[in-house]
Symmetry: C2
Subunit: 397 residues, 2 copies
């Protein structure tokens, strides 16, 4: 493939959804030399969401220009987990689990990247060969002051929160990855600034060309409208979510975030976004458009049509409020009675039975009068309605 040195394309890759760039990336892109663009992935939670997609989409832009994408699977540290006990969500993983997660990750990344052209490495390739002495030699290249000046370390130390010694080694490891891969560019979120700059530093100390650092931003805030999108916070849209699930989640995005979501998760042109969000326009229409764009990216335009149709069929003219709470239940076939009790729409099985028999319960918009009725709880939220004004979405845990 011929390398693109088109100045408009370069300008675009350097600025769109980019917070800042460190290094002479513009010049390197214009040089006509194929660059090695590095992205590290954490194989502890392989389910990618739209936050991760920002990075992968940026890689795709580089890939389309003819550059080499290099993905690093951080399997070596995943095997140690987080033994400080701070994060219960990060137990050590076995090699088998890491491999399975990496496979899942790559399959998902393949929705965005041309994965056949991607170079993939696990960092155990080099770290498993290091002896203690090699590690010591590596640590001589970093000063303690430099490491703890990392914003979150400094804050945690000031607050008296434990920072464990191994955490100081992680940036060094990420930096060493860049040395081993001879990365020309590393990309990541602004929260990765320290680690990515450490790679630049270590490359210099190792006598090689320093990688350019590209920090993407702004940060994609999740559907809760408050925090950075994260699987553990449950405020995410997964790139493998079913179309209906995507549609439902996007419809819950707070109006104030719509502009950012259009900008960060779609390629809809700013002028068009302005029109969609103009005063007097119904934000719901903008959300439908946003949902369609996202579903089209990760499934297809046809899937977007179908999801929209189902959504309209279920919700239109039902006066469903915007803030329907979601309740997580065990996946699988569940009696409607149990669901009403668990969702606190009924105080007892007896009340639930009476409500159903009286025709006061709707499932996905349809009245359900069979007290023996069951609902299959899955990833797609299902709307349960009691009377005119009580709604919950149920969904598998």
């Amino acid at each position: 493939m011929k390398l693109s040195t088109d100045s408009a394309a370069i300008q675009n890759v350097l600025t769109r959804r980019v917070d800042r760039v460190v290094g002479d990336l513009a010049a390197r892109l214009a040089s006509g030399k194929q660059l090695r663009i590095k992205l590290g992935m954490d194989p502890t939670s392989p389910d990618l969401h739209l936050g991760h997609a920002m990075q992968l989409r940026k890689l795709r832009e580089f890939q389309d220009m003819g550059h080499k994408i290099v993905l690093i699977i951080g399997d070596y540290t995943a095997m140690i987990g987080d033994p400080s006990g701070k994060s219960k969500t990060r137990p050590p993983l076995t090699k088998k689990e890491v491999d399975a997660n990496a496979k899942t990750y790559l399959a998902q990344a393949g929705k965005i990247l041309d994965i056949k052209k991607v170079e993939v490495h696990k960092n155990s390739e080099w770290f498993s060969k290091l002896k203690f002495l090699d590690v010591l030699a590596l640590t001589t290249k970093f000063t303690v002051a430099r490491m703890i000046e990392r914003d979150d370390f400094e804050k945690r130390l000031a607050a008296g929160t434990d920072v464990h010694m191994h955490e100081l080694l992680y940036p060094m490891m990420q930096a060493y990855d860049s040395v081993m891969l001879k990365a020309d560019v590393e990309i990541g979120g602004t929260d990765q600034m320290f680690n990515i700059l450490a790679g630049r530093e270590l490359q210099k100390k190792s006598g090689m060309a320093e990688q350019c650092c590209m920090f993407l931003g702004p940060t994609l805030v999740g559907t809760d409208g408050v925090k950075k999108m994260s699987k553990s916070l449950g405020n995410y849209v997964g790139i493998t979510d079913a179309p209906d699930e995507m549609f439902g989640k996007v419809m819950t995005v707070p109006d104030a975030l719509l502009r950012d979501w259009f900008s960060l998760t779609t390629d809809v042109m700013p002028a068009e976004v302005d029109a969609l969000l103009a005063a007097g326009k119904n934000p719901r229409d903008a959300k439908v458009r946003l949902a369609r764009e996202i579903i089209t990216q990760y499934h297809s335009a046809k899937a977007a049509d179908a999801a929209e149709a189902r959504f309209v069929q279920v919700f239109k003219n039902k006066e469903v409020p915007d803030d329907v709470p979601t309740i997580a239940l065990k996946a699988g076939q569940t009696s409607l009675i149990a669901i009403l009790v668990e969702a606190k729409l009924a105080a007892s099985n007896g009340e639930a039975r009476r409500l159903i028999a009286e025709g006061g319960v709707r499932v996905a918009g349809e009245v359900q009068k069979d007290i023996a009725a069951t609902v299959v709880v899955g990833k797609t939220p299902i709307l349960i309605q009691k009377g005119k004004r009580h709604f919950v979405n149920i969904q598998s845990e």
Copy 2:
């Protein structure tokens, strides 16, 4: 050998030349169980001086009570040296150099310890087997705050002086030595407090009995009267120094330090020391006694006699001042003329020749009138005198 649980012996080992003890050492010594007493040695500079001897003599006390002495040769870190560039005196050592230094060290330690009964380990025995992952697992047991609260780290960080990452790993390594050796007691100077306590901590985290920590003190100040005895400062008496060298060096100890020197380097009883240092006594006599004690320990009483005799012969009634400067010259046979010029006793070769011919120069107390005379420069200082009032000691570099 039967273990001594004699309470006077226990009291003595616990208090004499001891700054403080952490842990239930008194109870353990009284238990009748043989204890493992650990001392780490740095194989980068194998020449032991009286400062090191304080530690070895304490070990000898334990050994005489029947306990097991365990010496650790810190060969693993010696192979990395100090690549931070702070210390030019600590280049990385090869395995061969480490082995040679360790051999020298043990030969010297054998002047104090019954070396056949000592258990000796190199810490490469366990560190060379550690993988990076093991190191990471180990680092999870230490917090950054704990490490940098070490007095010298904190001061250096506050002063903006570089502390390199590997320096943070050294205390962890010393602590791991204690785990691997199942040490019951570790001894060291008060400057080793943090590292030795880290061993106690890591043993606890590893589910084993915590070692007791014995910190020796006060610190032995060198012959300069100012700084801790240290080879690199040149203010030391080496335990392999020749008797005359020991004698000469001890005679330069400032009067104010004599009490400490008696207490820290000899077993002369306090009452006797009081008598030697009483008002009106000549400090020179106390120094002669101190020198004799030290030479007797590391050579023999006969060697002490001979050294004293030579000293008296050379110096008596010569009105040699106490503060004769020492000048280091290239070892080997050297012309007296060159020596006078290098020692700045003569401004030129011509002046030196004239001084000698006129009988104004003494070598080791004897007038030397031969302008072709040579002197063999070696480790033993040789007194060169010009006229009545100008003296220098010359010695090999």
